[in-house]
Amino acid sequence: MSFKILDPTNEAVPVTRQVTPRPEKLTGRLAFLDISKPRGNVLLDRLQEALEQRLPQIEITRYTKPTFSKPAPDALRVEIQRDNDFVIEALAD
């Protein structure tokens, strides 16, 4: 006789997500998200300088998570998604 156990997991089937197609060229609106880790702003400052020199056609907007220790609030995610074409998120430390 076989031995049966009960599934201890949430039994959810993970959704397979497609990676958004990568464009040939970076244009449009770009969100910079600082997750509030120390020196995340330093990283983003340098990156912004570099990108603005090389890619004058993009428009960068800076966003900040209230705390790195929790997921971004829904409102912030909606705002970033609504107003931007790309996101760069900085971890740092």
């Binding site: 156990i5 201890p8 997991t9 949430n10 959810a12 705390t67």
Partner: protein, 551 residues
């Protein structure tokens, strides 16, 4: 045949002597597909009159009625459906061979049909009508009753009754307990029944697979073996709470898995919990799945925080928790398994696994389990849960996100409260690092000998907190990063802060309440345990208390 399987005790007497009406109301006429001894499937749908009898081989009364069943088969089986059902496959075979039975016993060795029919005693004889109502039933054997019943059936069918020398049969024999109510099988049958509270997916483990190895392979464990969560064990675990099995206790990040009471019970079985621990596990799950506690961040942080739980109130004694010698260590089942169960739920239902969304750089032994009880009676202080607004009689669990500990604060010399709390403060200055001020919180586990030192000075918990804040107070300039160590407040920020508040000083903790205090440990030893917090407050984690269900 073993005598001790025969039910002679007074508890079964009621059923044996109950009137026919009582028995018919108690029983249920089953629909089934069962195999007979030839391997043929026999189906009963319940839309024709029938006679059924349940027996088992190791019941002397069942053996005694075999001649009756043979006569019943020979005289009535042509006129009415007769189902003679045995409860063990081997027993059916042996009875047939030994007593040369003229009928082929049906195999109910899974006991599903016996269970569904509410059979408590064998033999049970029942007569059913075309509408599947039970019109007559007998349990055990009383000769005149069996004779009357079978003659009545024969009379209604217009045929002769069983040909049998009734005088050779005993006058009366009590029945035996049905295997379907035997504790060895009852939990499994309840789990497999249609009205079972179990909804989780069954996972079948191959005959050649070792269940323990299988569960390691599936990633269900914390790296230590777990108890296989069979339906029987989970049912027994569910008896530890009054809550419905499918009630959602919490939605747990990162995968937002629904922690039902059943899923919590499954993981509690795996962790090694007793059913009476389940209410603590459920309260803890509720506590960590709050926005205040932030289990998502606690698991995801590279710093490696973990839930540390303290239990207060009467349940400590009831479930045998350790608050004395070695309370924070191994050896006590409740302490060890409650924390482990919650951690397994975080892994299996929440989906936080090391290397996945659990990103701790080093990990920590705290991540296996950390739960203990406060020795409330060993000090004159209000215990933790009373400080936090609960009644002393309430059972409560409180949980913190702690990044390390217990590290020891060793003080075998101080003779009064000022000195001892001074040692504590100065030792804790280096939590995180020596310049990390107002960042975190702490849980101090004070052992009896240190409690006594404080008691001699009339020291309250508030006094300890105040003293710690006083001895750790430092000028803001002392907390600035320097050549010795790169950590600390940035000079420009320190200047800005000082400009607004000349002579500004900071204490180690943002507020005295960030020093949490409980009593535990053995009578001997002047070592206070100090847990170091994580990011304290709304930006990280706030300790949460939950009242534990009274069962």
């Amino acid at each position: 045949m073993s005598e001790d399987t025969t039910t002679y005790d007074s508890t079964s007497g009621g059923a044996l002597e109950a009137s026919g009406d009582d028995i018919t109301a108690q029983l249920a006429a089953p629909s089934f597909k069962l195999s007979n001894l030839h391997g043929d499937t026999v189906t009963r749908t319940g839309d024709r009159p029938s006679v059924l009898c349940f027996i088992k081989e190791d019941c002397p009364t069942c053996i005694a009625v075999l001649p009756v069943l043979s006569a019943l088969h020979n005289s009535l089986a042509e006129h009415i459906d007769v189902y003679l059902i045995g409860q063990t496959a081997d027993g059916n075979q042996r009875m047939t061979e030994q007593y040369d039975l003229p009928f082929s016993l049906l195999d109910d060795s899974t006991l599903h049909v016996s269970y569904a029919s509410n059979i408590e005693i064998v033999p049970t004889l029942m007569v059913t009508e075309a509408d599947n109502q039970i019109s007559d039933a007998l349990v055990g054997f009383q000769r005149d009753e069996w004779q009357t019943l079978l003659q009545n059936v024969a009379g209604r069918l217009g045929t002769a009754g069983p040909t049998l020398d009734w005088d050779r049969l005993p006058l009366w024999r009590p029945g035996c307990g049905s295997l379907s109510v035997d504790p060895t099988h009852a939990d499994r049958l309840r789990a497999e029944a249609e009205d079972s509270p179990i909804r989780a997916r069954n996972i079948e483990i191959g005959q050649l697979d070792d269940p323990f190895e299988f569960m390691f392979d599936q990633g269900f464990t914390d790296g230590l073996p777990v108890v296989p969560p069979t339906a029987e064990r989970v049912l027994r675990m569910l008896a530890g709470t009054r809550r419905e099995a499918q009630e959602v206790v919490a939605v747990m990040p990162p995968n937002m898995g629904e922690v039902t009471v059943e899923k919590a019970a499954i993981n509690a079985v795996m962790a090694g919990c007793k059913p009476e621990y389940l209410p603590v596990v459920l309260a803890l799950v509720e506590a960590i799945c709050t926005d205040d506690f932030n289990i998502h961040g606690v698991m995801a942080t590279t710093m490696g925080a973990s839930p540390v739980a303290v239990v207060n109130g009467p349940i400590r004694e009831r479930i045998g928790m350790n608050m004395g010698i070695g309370a924070l260590g191994q050896g006590n089942r409740a302490n060890a398994t409650i924390g482990r169960a919650v951690r397994l739920i975080v892994r299996n239902v929440g989906g936080a696994t090391p290397g996945g969304t659990e990103r701790s750089t080093l990990g920590s032994p705290l991540k296996f389990t950390m739960c203990f009880a406060e020795w409330e009676e060993r000090s004159n202080w209000d215990p933790l849960h009373v400080e936090r607004g609960f009644e002393r009689e309430d059972s409560v669990v409180t949980v913190w996100a702690m990044s390390s500990g217990p590290s020891l604060i060793i003080d075998q010399e101080s003779l009064d409260g000022d000195q001892l709390a001074g040692t504590m403060g100065k030792t804790m200055e280096t939590i995180f690092n020596h310049k990390a001020y107002s960042h975190t919180n702490t849980l101090l586990v004070i052992p009896p000998e240190h409690v006594d030192t404080f008691a001699r000075s009339g020291y309250t918990k508030a006094d300890i907190r105040e003293r710690i804040q006083t001895v750790t107070r430092r000028d803001i300039q002392d907390l600035v990063a320097d050549e010795t160590a790169g950590v600390g407040i940035k000079p420009e920020l320190a200047e800005k802060m000082a400009a607004g508040a000349p002579g500004l000083q900071l204490s180690k903790f943002a507020k005295p309440e960030d020093v949490h205090i409980v009593v535990a440990g053995s009578e001997a030893g002047k070592f206070t345990g100090c847990f170091h917090g994580w990011v304290a407050g709304p930006k990280g984690s706030i300790p949460v208390s939950r009242k534990i269900e009274e069962v």
